[in-house]
Amino acid sequence: MKARTASLLLMAPALLLLAAVFLYPLLRYGWLSFQASSVLTGLEPVPNGGANWGRLLDDARFWTDAFQTLRFAVCSVALELVGGLGLALLLHRPLRGRGTLRALTLLPWALPTTVMALGWRWILNDPHGPLNAAIRSLGGSSYGFLSTPATTWFFVVLADVWKTLPFVALLLLAGLQTIPEDLEEALRLEGAGRLQILRRLTLPLLVPYLALALLFRLAQALGVFDLIQVLSGGGPAGSTESLALYAYLNAMRFLDFGYAATVMLATFLLLLVLLGGGWWLWRRGDLQGRREGAA
């Protein structure tokens, strides 16, 4: 009994800080979302009923951004999972200089997002960036990659994939390392090819890791902020704006804290619904699979 109390005390400082950093904001947003706290109230909170939520429902910008954020997250996470799996398989093979290779492929993930966001802006610069220089040297004319919605969106996704692919690959690498080699050996003796091993052995055993990477990356991608703020600023004409960026603008540009809190809470709820729904679907599939396996 005494040991339990002592261990609770040991946990207390960390739990307090965690509550201050994670729990307090959520509670605060919940309260703020029913307040007007803006330049019209001298930045002080004044209750405004459900006005913020009513506004949210009719706010075309919020729903456009929600759709754009979701589209971004789904596309980049899908690409990251596929690419990450490939990279993990490559890094898992015994190669000369594997450690260095792992370290170097890890580098994009280790760099601050803003550093390469600005780097991409230079690479895509119209007309002096290398990409346009290459196009011109092939006889084409420069293209404003960051001034049309479609290409801007494409490169935002690409930049995100470039940065987070190594992270996904590492998670999957962890999964690969748990697969006993003798199983693979047994399959190979049965005459299974590489693709067959991948399909029959590797992928099924990787499912938990794929799911973990999916959940984790989806949550992060739905909160995408710094990459978009620096690479495209949400433009052109708001076509790459994410929910987090919109929430940021509401607070820092419009000084509308009540609504900013509402947008952030709504984003969080949206995230919860998506991840919770995804998790539930996966668990159902998993249980079914197990039942079938048992049968």
């Binding site: 307040q35 803006s38 109230t41 004044v46 506004r55 708001g238 540009r253 009540g258």
Partner: protein, 460 residues
């Protein structure tokens, strides 16, 4: 078995913690050195730069968009040479109006602004004043000072009976027309369309009228002009509400939509900002252009096909209505809590004075605010737009002087751009804009948003 890879590989790294601790300690001490050394280094170099005999000079910092900062570099040097004890330091901010506002806002929210003066766009003023970030200026600049300015230039500086900003420029939206295609500029919107269609029919020009229809604040500036030109108003200062669904407002939106439907303006206008419209006009694509004063200088400098064939006039309204360009002025405000307001005000006095404004008019085409400058024959010769700019300053239009302008502008631009790209007719578009505006005001002001006692506009 399962935990083998991470753990067994680390067994060999037994010495790693020690190595890492050493490395971390080394890094930590290096950082402490790096952070401490420069501080002492900076102060010592600062000491050596200043003659020991002089008293500590007061540094006044002003944040400006970089082009304006560069334009005033020479006058700032002049100021520093002539006023001992004060050093005026210009911080070059981003070019984009919203980005520089973000930068300023971020600093001001935290309570310690790293600048004493801020160059403020007319559309930010109400928001910054409501946030309580500015010091009133009437202690230093009485009514007699503003009386020496053109009437339009006096607008957008006062609010709630206080003076918050000293204007540095007096720009308004202008109508550009082709002197090689017509005898005289149109007097109203109907003439503008008629001339355009006639020229287009005769194949003299591809498009009639170019303006800014992209979904951004520039479209709101266009809306201010069109709404006023059709006798509507965006903002009612006495009720502190928007009036976007009035029949006049719908007629104004209808006119813009018809421009695209009838081919007077290209569909591409819906994605045009100032520079896109200017480029197309400068290439000779159109008979008319809506833009700011800077465009004239760009056209004349560029040497394109329409160089020397462009006239400028004040913005037109519907027949029987008075037209008026949107006021787009910059001015200097004093940050509350500045440790040396007197010196900062001296800097405002110099920077908004005739010497600096004269130079800005000549080099950048900015409209001055002082009436005497408009009467100066030498300046008239060197800044040919002066007469038109003065005329435009007689009836300028203010964007809604409410702290909520940024949100209202965002949703109106979004709705109108949607209409331009075919997502709805003028009636439903303006009705939706009005509904959403009231929602925003309610959410911003709480119960006050429902009543009529919001913040009244005090620009008189």
């Amino acid at each position: 078995m399962a935990a083998r890879p991470p753990f067994s590989s680390l067994r060999r790294w037994r010495s790693l913690p020690k190595l890492l601790t050493t490395a971390l300690l080394a890094l930590l001490s290096a950082t402490v050195l790096l952070v401490l050394l420069p501080a002492s280094g900076l102060s010592s170099s600062g000491m050596s730069a200043i003659p020991v005999a002089a008293a500590d000079p007061v540094t006044v910092r002003v944040l400006m968009p970089a082009p304006l900062a560069d334009a005033v570099a020479a006058p700032v040097a002049q100021f520093n040479a002539s006023s001992p004890g004060v050093v005026l330091e210009v911080i070059r901010g981003p070019l984009d109006t919203e980005t520089i506002s973000d930068l300023a806002t971020g600093s001001l929210l935290l309570g310690e602004a790293p600048f004493d003066l801020l160059l403020v766009d007319v559309s930010w003023l109400a928001r910054y004043v409501a946030a309580g970030w500015f010091e009133p200026l009437e202690r230093w600049f009485g009514p007699e000072v503003l009386a020496a300015m053109e009437p339009g230039a006096r607008l957008g500086n006062g609010l709630d009976g206080h003076l918050w900003r000293m204007p540095l420029t007096g720009d308004t939206g202008l109508l550009y027309w082709r002197t090689d295609l017509m005898e005289r500029p149109p007097r109203d919107t109907e003439e503008l369309v008629a001339i355009s269609r006639d020229l287009q029919r005769r194949g003299r020009v591809r498009w009639g009228y170019l303006w800014q229809g992209r979904q951004y604040e520039g479209l709101s500036c266009v809306m201010v002009e069109v709404l006023h030109g059709f006798g509507a108003r965006w903002w009612n200062g006495s009720t502190a509400r928007t009036e976007l669904d009035s029949p006049e407002a719908v007629a104004a939106a209808q006119w813009l939509a018809a421009l695209l439907q009838d081919g007077v303006s290209p569909q591409a206008v819906a994605s045009y900002a100032e520079n896109d419209a200017l480029q197309s006009f400068a290439a000779g694509d159109a008979a008319f252009l809506r833009n700011w004063p800077y465009a004239w200088r760009e056209i004349e400098k560029g040497g394109g096909p329409v160089k020397g064939k462009v006239g400028v006039t004040a913005m037109v309204g519907a027949p029987g209505e008075q037209g008026g360009g949107t006021l787009g002025t910059w001015g200097l405000s004093l940050i509350k809590g500045s440790p040396h307001p007197e010196e900062a005000v001296a800097a405002i006095r110099w920077l908004t004075g005739p010497v600096v404004q004269r130079q800005l008019a000549i080099e950048q085409g900015y409209a001055p605010t002082w009436s005497t400058l408009y009467d100066d024959p030498d300046l008239q010769r060197r800044a040919p737009l002066l007469t038109v700019q003065r005329q435009a300053l007689q009836h300028p239009q203010l964007r809604p002087p409410t702290p909520a302008y940024a949100q209202l502008s965002d949703l109106l631009a979004r709705q109108v751009n949607g209409m331009l790209t075919g997502q709805g007719g003028p009636g439903p578009t303006m009705a939706a804009a009005q509904r959403q505006s009231l929602q925003v005001l309610r959410s911003l002001a709480g119960p006050a948003g429902d009543t009529a006692d919001g913040r009244p506009a005090v620009d008189r």
